[in-house]
């Protein structure tokens, strides 16, 4: 049997990778993928604690997180397409004006 702390360490490391990617990547799509990585890390924590307390509510919460992630991906990628259409670039350093 695997101790619960191992799972939590894996989750923390994945979340850390997501934060690092969010900070160091310059491509707007890769930044968006780092956010998905962070959501996955949090989902792992939910499932681990659901198994620890033997409660299914954690699984339900993971389900809702996935629904929100799907909605976020749809809207976010539409925003990326809109940004690319006006700016002709995916580099976040070049996207520095609020107006279109």
């Amino acid at each position: 049997m695997v101790p619960i702390s191992w799972y939590l360490m894996l989750s923390a490391l994945l979340f850390g990778c997501g934060v690092a990617g969010f900070l160091i990547k310059r491509n707007i799509i890769t930044i968006f993928m780092s956010i998905e990585l962070m959501l996955n890390a949090v989902n792992l924590t939910f499932v681990v604690f659901a198994a620890k307390w033997q409660m299914l509510s954690g699984h339900i919460f993971v389900f809702f997180v996935m629904v929100v992630a799907a909605a976020e991906a749809a809207v976010g990628l539409a925003i990326i397409i809109a940004v690319f259409r006006t700016r002709e670039t995916l580099n976040v350093d070049r996207v520095n004006l609020l107006k279109l």
Binding site: C17, M33, V48, F64, V67, A74, L77, R85, N91
Partner: protein, 166 residues
């Protein structure tokens, strides 16, 4: 024993995929390594007895969401990431800060959690049980998510529409 071997293998695969996501400069390579991360996370969910979550992890995340990502990467013809001049301060302050933060988090996790194995015998998050819970206790949140999805669809259509068509 088998649990530990499976956990170590797929945990390492997961972490390797996440680090590869950071290391690759081309977005399509990052997207493919994110699929590896999600697939190995699904196996770890199975180890934790979360059958339904593992299935929807594969179907929704590794399937639907990542297909959307690769589609957009190919639609926009995203090339290699441009290198930017890094700040030296980021290296000097960032690495010790990373080590400090990492060790604090590791200390809290290892200190606060029992070192005994996680007993998951008899605990199965199967689809019938999840469905019973979802449509009885969590019916209102479930219905609200359908409104959320509808708003997201409309938002995506409005945002991605070519400009000057209103």
């Amino acid at each position: 024993m088998l649990h530990i071997v499976l956990f170590l293998f797929f945990g390492a695969l997961c972490l390797g995929g996440a680090i590869n996501l950071l290391a690759q400069r081309h977005p399509i390579s990052s997207a493919l390594s994110l699929i590896v991360v999600m697939g190995s996370l699904a196996v770890i969910y199975l180890l934790l007895g979360a059958e339904f979550v593992a299935a929807i992890q594969i179907i929704i995340y590794a399937g639907a969401i990542m297909v959307l990502f690769t589609f957009v990467i190919m639609l926009l013809n995203a090339g290699e990431e441009e290198r930017t001049k890094g700040n030296n301060l980021a290296l000097i302050v960032g690495l010790p800060g990373l080590l400090l933060g990492g060790s604090v988090i590791a200390w809290v996790i290892l200190k606060g959690m029992p070192q005994t194995g996680l007993a998951i015998a008899g605990f199965r998050g199967s689809a019938p049980e999840i469905g019973r819970l979802l449509f009885r206790d969590y019916l209102l949140p479930f219905e609200v998510t359908s409104v959320l999805i509808l708003i997201a669809i409309m938002g995506a259509v409005v945002l991605a529409r070519p400009r000057g068509e209103d």
